[in-house]
């Protein structure tokens, strides 16, 4: 007889049925993924970035595959706040998973506007502040590399979020990620999400042009996993260990083993991005795989894994 494993976690005060989230921008608004797996099996769902106005996104090509990874330069294409509220909120309201809206903008006021307008929605548990997108000219990553700006935007958006939770999503392309992490935590972040993509470029040697129309893109997928695990562990040790701020770990996770590795490194929950593209059932399988692992190892609650690195 198999022992029962408690897969639930407490994530910044919210109880989730399990620690597996979708990653922003990689699962649309849930409808498409729903054709392949039961989305009620998710612990959390993070939407594509939402900005005040609709964004077309960047010109094509927006994607190129690299060794064990891919670059994207979607450019935060999204339907904009108004259509999001009208069309997507009703769908998201039906989800069992905790829904977090990923917020993007080019000015701090943009971020505040989106957050304020959505802060009253019952459908959502909170926000993920995207200050780490490498694929837009203004805003995005520029807010995320400087601890002073991280502090400022976190504090302001936290206020706008009312009693909703605020996850701050950090960029890995900084000299010392603990500085930006600390700035976020000290200014009201309820959770940290790390990491976003790494800036990168592929050049077509025949045409001598960058393959992406945007020239550069963000690297994601298994290629980045060992760097992401390191950064999660670093922030856990240096910033969050003795706080109640959980880390949402992501970057290259494609199976339960990867997810468990992030949790051992210090993540309370994990997000799956690129892996859903080639295996749309990834999230569901990872939840099952974590459960099996815990059974085999006699771990009674998945939360025991968090930060259990020796």
């Amino acid at each position: 007889m198999k022992n029962i494993v408690d897969l639930s976690i407490d994530f910044a005060g919210i109880r989730l049925s399990n620690p597996v989230f979708t990653a922003s921008g990689t699962c649309g608004y849930a409808d498409e993924l729903g054709e392949f797996m039961d989305i009620d099996k998710l612990g959390g769902f993070i939407t594509k970035s939402i900005s005040v106005k609709p964004r077309k996104g960047n010109a094509t090509p927006r994607m190129v595959e690299t060794d064990s990874g891919m670059l994207n330069a979607i450019g935060l294409a999204n339907i904009g706040l108004d259509r999001f509220i009208e069309e997507k909120i009703p769908v998201l309201a039906k989800m069992k998973a905790a829904v977090f809206v990923n917020v993007a903008g080019t000015t701090i006021d943009d971020y505040i506007e989106v957050t304020e307008k959505l802060a009253g929605e019952n459908a959502i548990a909170g926000f993920e502040l995207n200050i780490s997108c490498p694929n837009v000219k203004e805003g995005g990553i520029s807010f995320g590399t400087d601890p002073v700006q991280v502090a400022d935007i976190t504090a302001k958006v936290k206020k706008a979020a009312g009693d909703k939770k605020l996850i701050v999503k950090l960029t890995p392309t900084v000299t010392n990620i603990s500085e930006t992490a600390l700035a976020a935590v000290e200014n009201g972040a309820d959770a940290l999400s790390l990491v976003n993509t790494f800036t990168a470029m592929v050049i077509d040697i025949e045409t001598r042009k960058p393959v992406l129309a945007n020239r550069t893109g963000g690297l994601s997928g298994p290629a980045i996993k060992p760097m992401a695990v390191y950064l999660v562990n670093k922030v856990y040790n240096e910033v969050t260990k003795n706080t109640d701020v959980p880390i949402l770990g992501l970057g290259g996770i494609r199976n339960a083993g990867d997810a468990i590795e992030f949790m051992i490194a210090g993540a309370t929950a994990v997000s799956v991005g690129t892996a859903s593209f080639f295996e749309p059932r990834s999230c569901e399988r990872i939840v099952k795989g974590i459960e099996k692992f815990c059974q085999a190892k006699n771990i009674s609650a998945v939360r025991e894994l968090t930060g259990s690195i020796e």
């Binding site: 921008g25 990689t26 699962c27 649309g28 498409e32 993924l33 054709e35 392949f36 594509k48 077309k56 996104g57 960047n58 010109a59 094509t60 090509p61 927006r62 994607m63 190129v64 595959e65 690299t66 060794d67 064990s68 990874g69 891919m70 994207n72 979607i74 294409a77 997928g221 298994p222 690129t274 859903s276 593209f277 080639f278 295996e279 749309p280 059932r281």
Partner: protein
Amino acid sequence: MTRPFLFSVWNRIMCDDGSKKGIFEAKVNSNRCIGEGFYRVNLGFCGDGARLFAGFIPGQFVEIDLSGAPLPAMDKIPEKLRDASGRSIILRRPFSLADVEVCGDVVNIEILYCCVGPASLRMMELKEGNVVSVIGPLGNGFDIDKNKKVALLAVGGMGAGPLQHLARELAKIPGMEVVAFAGAQSVDRLPFEKPFGDFSARPTLCLNEFSKSATKSIVATDDGSAGFKGFVTGAMESWLDSCKAEMKDIIIYCCGPEMMLATMAEIAEKRGIDCQVSMERRMACGIGLCQSCAVECRKKGTDETFYKMCCKDGPVFDSREVVYTL
């Protein structure tokens, strides 16, 4: 465009759980070389997969996981692809179907493909009995308008696959005249099985794949090594010049390089002919998750543009709505 749900063979049959697409394991029935760098692989489905693929519409596509397939020995890889061939792949690859065949409980699909990089080179090594993971059916497919009298197919490169499939379905419509225009740089770059029919007569019914479905085919080669000397678009224009049908009764279906689609769209626009183009984009997912596959489209009656997704809203578009990337 309205979906021709009336056609029984195209009726989408649903999975037990009601979904219209799924992830299935397919067995490789055969995989053979039909010309330098051109192959045809045949995959078999059973169960839910068979049911869904029986309703496959020409122009729809599948996403195949080739990451576990072996790389061919270096001497089998064309020199200019050797460097790129070593890349470790993680993403699936989109392929259209050249044929769908229902054999009792089993449905076999056929893909015409060309080796251009790490995934398609790995595809070359698939052997009878191997199992691959396939997502499909995906995309919208061509919209067949039964009221037309003439259907012209403009075939460039690997567009040969889906348009062969389409030709077979069009041939079932009583009174529909179907003509395929197939182009390549030279005769040995034509992705069809040799021996061809008789190239000397032009226009001529010469490509076996099309003649099987009673479709006339006209070959155009840039160097004149077979058929019409020049582009497929030129071949079609000269055919149109001497054609007696009314333009409103004609429809053009195109699949090939974007340059060809753009020229075809212009020709169609100029002459007032309806035209559908099948677009290609780099796809990370093929199922609407990633927004990689943006196709710029015009907002009707304005100069504004927006992006549709090639994998979900396409790959077939009305030729007038697309802003081509050249």
